[in-house]
Structure formats: structure tokens, C-alpha cells
């Protein structure tokens, strides 16, 4: 039903959004790319000069870059494993008939709605504090030494907090996918004598594969730039122990005022995210055609 005039109206209606997004993303991205080739420090204004790929050379050979890249990968990888495995198990659990299942589901997904700064500070103080925290009390009453999370295992602490936040996301999506699983297929397999384990591996898991892919891709994109949790708990430290790429770029830009270096770091982060994004967009694009 698309005629020439309705096509024109359609363009007029969608133009503002497209133009706004263009101005918001492409123009600043272009500026970032441009800055990344300049020596540009906010403390010495007017001294900007073209330095070619020098910023990239500095950024990519900086030991801080390798540390933060390793931290980023460790953080993303661990949270993905925890949330996907936990999400499948919790999804299966919530798919069973349970007393008060609706309320239970609300409790399980609640962490997703907690703002990141609250999440981080509640975990850091109320739970993980080495003296008065809940974990310390539990450890002590079981006869163990309590752990000073943020000096002994700071990255693990961040991983735990972020996993807690994202586990409900995985549960919600995997549960939605589980509920669309054909019951007849499962019953037929049961009739043929398949046990719960083989039903899980041959029917349930293949059915979930698509949803799991979506969870992995979307979480990766958000997890690559975890910021608030680090900002309010460790500030990237001790040393560089919890600095990820996003936080490294932030410190270079807003604490050291090194615009050129921070821009080069930003572009590196964009490239990393795009490797994942390409797969996600392809997957969603395929889905659009159906």
C-alpha cells in the first residue's frame, strides 16, 4: 500500500529520528577519530598538533592497556559464563510448577532494576565489608577467615556484583524462550524412554541456543563498558586491578585531560564492541525477514 506520496510522508516522519541519531553518534565519532590523531591536552590549550598514529602507539603499547584489556576480557567472560549457566538453571527451575511461582519470579528478576551505583555500594559495604559485612560474619561463624574483597580479590568482587545485576536479564530471556518450547515434543521423547538429562541436551538446549546467543551478544555489548560499579567501589584500583578499557579511557580524558590519548582509547573500545555488534546485527536482521 505504499504509494509515492505515502513514501514521502514516511520519510518526513522518520527523518527527525534518523538525523538526530546521526548527529549524536556519527558526528562525535568522527570528532573522536580526528582527536585521536592530535596531541591535544586540555591543560595546554592552543597547542594542538597533528601527530599521526602516535596516540595509538602510546595507548596500545602502554602496560595499562594490556592490564585493562585483560581485565575487560576476564570481566566479560566470567559474567557471561555465570549468567548464562545460572540463567539456564534458574530458567528451568522457574519453568516448573512451584508454589507462588509468580512472586518468586519477581524476586529473582528484581536485581536487574537496581541502579548500578546502589548495587555497587550495597554489595561493597553491607555484604562484602571485611569486618561488619554479611559475608565476613558468615565466614567467621563457619570458622573461616573473612576476605577483604576489595584488596584481596577486587576484580572477583566486581564480577560478582555485575553478575548479580545481569543474571535476571538472562533468566527473563531464557525463561521466555523456554515457555515457547513445544510440550508435545518433550512428551513424545519421554514416551520413547528419554531421561531428563538427554531431553535437556537433545531438545531443550538446542531450542535455547538462539536465545542464549542473543543473551551473550547483548550482555557483551553492555559489559564491555561497565563503568559505574568500578567508579564507586575501587576507582580502578588497587593499582590497575579493576581498570577496564572504559575506565582507562575515562581516567585519561577526565582526570589526565589527555584528549588525544583518550580518543585513541575510545576508538579501540569501539572496534572491540563492533566485532561483537556485527554478529548481533546480522542475527537480528535475519529475524526481521521472517
Amino acid at each position: 500500500m505504499s504509494t509515492r506520496s505515502s513514501t514521502l510522508t514516511g520519510r518526513i516522519m522518520s527523518a527527525p529520528s534518523i538525523i538526530a541519531l546521526f548527529l549524536w553518534m556519527i558526528v562525535p565519532l568522527g570528532m573522536t577519530i580526528y582527536f585521536s590523531f592530535l596531541r591535544y591536552n586540555l591543560l595546554s590549550p592552543g597547542m594542538e598538533e597533528w601527530v599521526g598514529t602516535l596516540n595509538y602507539e602510546f595507548f596500545l603499547t602502554d602496560p595499562a592497556f594490556f592490564a585493562s584489556l585483560a581485565n575487560t576480557l576476564l570481566l566479560v567472560g566470567s559474567v557471561l559464563v555465570i549468567t548464562v549457566v545460572g540463567g539456564v538453571l534458574l530458567g528451568l527451575m522457574l519453568d516448573q510448577p512451584i508454589f507462588g511461582r509468580g512472586i518468586l519470579r519477581l524476586l529473582v528478576i528484581a536485581p536487574f532494576f537496581i541502579m548500578p551505583t546502589v548495587n555497587a555500594l550495597v554489595w561493597k559495604n553491607l555484604l562484602m565489608h571485611p569486618v561488619s559485612g554479611m559475608f565476613a560474619w558468615i565466614a567467621n561463624s563457619l570458622g573461616f577467615q573473612s576476605i577483604d574483597w576489595f584488596s584481596e580479590a577486587p576484580l572477583t568482587a566486581i564480577i560478582i556484583m555485575v553478575s548479580w545485576q545481569w543474571l535476571p536479564f538472562a533468566v527473563l530471556i531464557l525463561l521466555t524462550a523456554l515457555q515457547s518450547l513445544d510440550r508435545d515434543q518433550k512428551e513424545a521423547a519421554q514416551m520413547d524412554g528419554a531421561g531428563p538429562v538427554s531431553i535437556f541436551f537433545y531438545i531443550t538446549l538446542p531450542h535455547l541456543s538462539r536465545a542464549i546467543t542473543v543473551v551473550v551478544l547483548i550482555e557483551t555489548i553492555f559489559l564491555l563498558t561497565v563503568f559505574a560499579e568500578i567508579f564507586v567501589t575501587t576507582g580502578g584500583g588497587p593499582g590497575l586491578a579493576t581498570t577496564n578499557i572504559a575506565f582507562l579511557v575515562y581516567t585519561q580524558a577526565l582526570l589526565q585531560y589527555d584528549v588525544g590519548g583518550a580518543s585513541a582509547g575510545g576508538i579501540v573500545a569501539v572496534v572491540l564492541a563492533n566485532i561483537v555488534a556485527i554478529f548481533l546485527i546480522r542475527l537480528i536482521g535475519k529475524n526481521l525477514d521472517r
Binding site: A20, L121, V122, L126, L272, I284
Partner: protein
């Protein structure tokens, strides 16, 4: 798998599931409980669960000491404001894409999505400098713009998936009955679109309320929302756990309630229709 359970097994499994669920919810429960304790009781070992003097003074003190309501007001203004501006842009766009699709609609949708994949640190520097030069740092207007643009792709996508489900036959039928275009929109389409628009609004308010990259980097005092207010507790002086808990409880309560009501829409909005 559990279909042929015995009643006893059913009860056993329910108890197990509830223990797991309560463990996951525990940090939130503990935060709320701590907000009713005195500062001394909050750090006492062993921790007290019920037998403490319940008090509301933390809530009063959070307001008196740090002007909690100003931050809360900012959160409301930023999240609602960015959502309304977003609707203004996203509804016509999604509408056109759903009802007048062209060859390029799919590409446009995917391009919009790709802007969402951009890590914010990639554009932090220029946005910060532009904000500084235009005097937009720490203004509500500037932050509303940022939050609106950040969530625009999600809004367009979500509305698009909802509008797609409105059968276009119904438009033909209305036209046959002599409805003009404005009438068609007001009396036929709008009522069918309202649920989709409402859930898009809710999701967007949640995302804007909890956004903690731009709000932390672009505000200091005047426009700072609750995310930044809570972050100020990261370097406190003296005992502060009960006050932190009270402030946190107030900050998450409204969004938790909205979130519980819109859990289904969340899946649709955050997976871009890839999981239904």
C-alpha cells in the same frame, strides 16, 4: 520433566526454589532492613535481623542532610523528560516504518540499532567538550538530550515491533466506511497503539532512571540525579550504612515497582524482537 512428581517431591522442589530465589533477593532485602536500623546496629556483629529498634530517622536525615528530594526530582525530570521527547521522535518514525515500509526501512532500523552498540566511551570526549563549550554541563536540558538520544534506537525498535502487530486490514475497513486520515489515526490506530506506547514509555523510564555513565560524567550538582547522589556515598565520613540504605531504598523503589509490571515488555525491548 517434573510432570510426574509426587506431591512430596513437588513441595520439596518448591522449598528448594524459594531458598534459591530468596538468596538472590537477599541483598535488596538486607538493604531495606538496614535502612530501618540505627548506624550502630547496622554495623553490629552478629547482624540483627528482627530484634532491633526499628527507626525511621535515617529517612528523615537523608532528606535533611543532603536535600534528597532535589536529586529525586532531577531523576524524575530526566527520565520522564527524555521519555517524552523520545516519544515525539520515535512514534512517527516507527509508525512510518511499520505502515509505509520502503526498501530501505530494514537498513534504517539496523543502522539505528548499530548506534546503540557504540560504547559510550567512544564518544565521551567530544560530547564532553561540546557540552563544556555550549554550557550544557550539569544542566537538565543537556542530560535530557543525552538520555533521549541514547535510548531512541530502543524506543523506535520497540514501537516498531508493536505497530507491526496492528493488522493493516483494519485501516482498509475504516477507509471503506469513509474515515478520513486524521479520524483513522485517532479512532482506529491510536487505541490499538496505546498499550505498545505505554510499555515503551515504562521501559525507557527504567533505562533512563538507572543510567549511570553519562549522569556520572556530565553532572556535578545542579542536574545530578539519584545515580550521582548515591555515588557520593562512595567516599563518606563516619558511619553511614543506614543512611546509604535509606537513600538507596528510596532510589530503587519506584523503578522496582515499574519494572515488576513491565517484565514482559523488557524482553521485547532489550532483545529487539529477537526473542519472543
Amino acid at each position: 520433566m517434573e510432570n510426574k512428581q509426587t506431591p512430596l517431591g513437588h513441595i520439596g522442589f518448591s522449598i528448594f526454589a524459594w531458598i534459591v530465589g530468596l538468596l538472590i533477593f537477599f541483598p535488596i532485602f538486607w538493604m531495606v532492613l538496614t535502612s530501618f536500623k540505627t548506624e550502630l546496629e547496622a554495623v553490629s556483629i552478629p547482624p540483627s535481623f528482627i530484634s532491633f529498634d526499628w527507626t525511621l530517622e535515617n529517612y528523615a536525615e537523608v532528606q535533611a542532610r543532603s536535600d534528597y528530594f532535589r536529586f529525586a526530582m532531577n531523576s524524575v525530570i530526566l527520565s520522564v523528560g527524555s521519555t517524552l521527547v523520545g516519544l515525539l521522535f520515535a512514534v512517527p518514525c516507527a509508525w512510518a516504518m511499520a505502515f509505509n515500509p520502503t526498501k530501505r526501512t530494514k537498513d534504517a532500523l539496523l543502522w539505528m540499532l548499530s548506534t546503540k552498540m557504540m560504547p559510550p566511551v567512544g564518544v565521551l570526549v567530544p560530547i564532553y567538550l561540546v557540552f563544556r563549550d555550549w554550557g550544557l554541563l550539569d544542566t537538565r536540558f543537556g542530560l535530557i538530550m543525552v538520555l533521549f538520544l541514547m535510548n531512541l534506537p530502543i524506543m523506535v525498535w520497540m514501537l516498531y515491533t508493536y505497530f507491526k502487530e496492528i493488522p493493516s486490514d483494519i485501516l482498509e475497513a475504516a477507509r471503506m466506511d469513509g474515515a478520513t486520515l486524521p479520524k483513522e489515526i485517532i479512532f482506529v490506530l491510536l487505541p490499538m497503539a496505546v498499550p505498545g506506547i505505554a510499555s515503551t514509555m515504562l521501559l525507557n523510564i527504567i533505562l533512563a532512571w538507572n543510567e549511570a555513565f553519562w549522569t556520572l560524567n556530565l553532572t556535578t550538582a545542579d542536574a545530578a540525579p539519584l545515580t550521582a547522589f548515591i555515588a557520593s556515598y562512595s567516599s563518606p565520613e563516619g558511619l553511614f550504612w543506614s543512611k546509604l540504605s535509606a537513600a538507596s531504598t528510596l532510589a530503587v523503589a519506584p523503578i522496582l515497582i515499574i519494572g515488576w509490571f513491565s517484565q514482559k515488555q523488557l524482553v521485547r525491548g532489550l532483545t529487539f524482537g529477537a526473542v519472543k
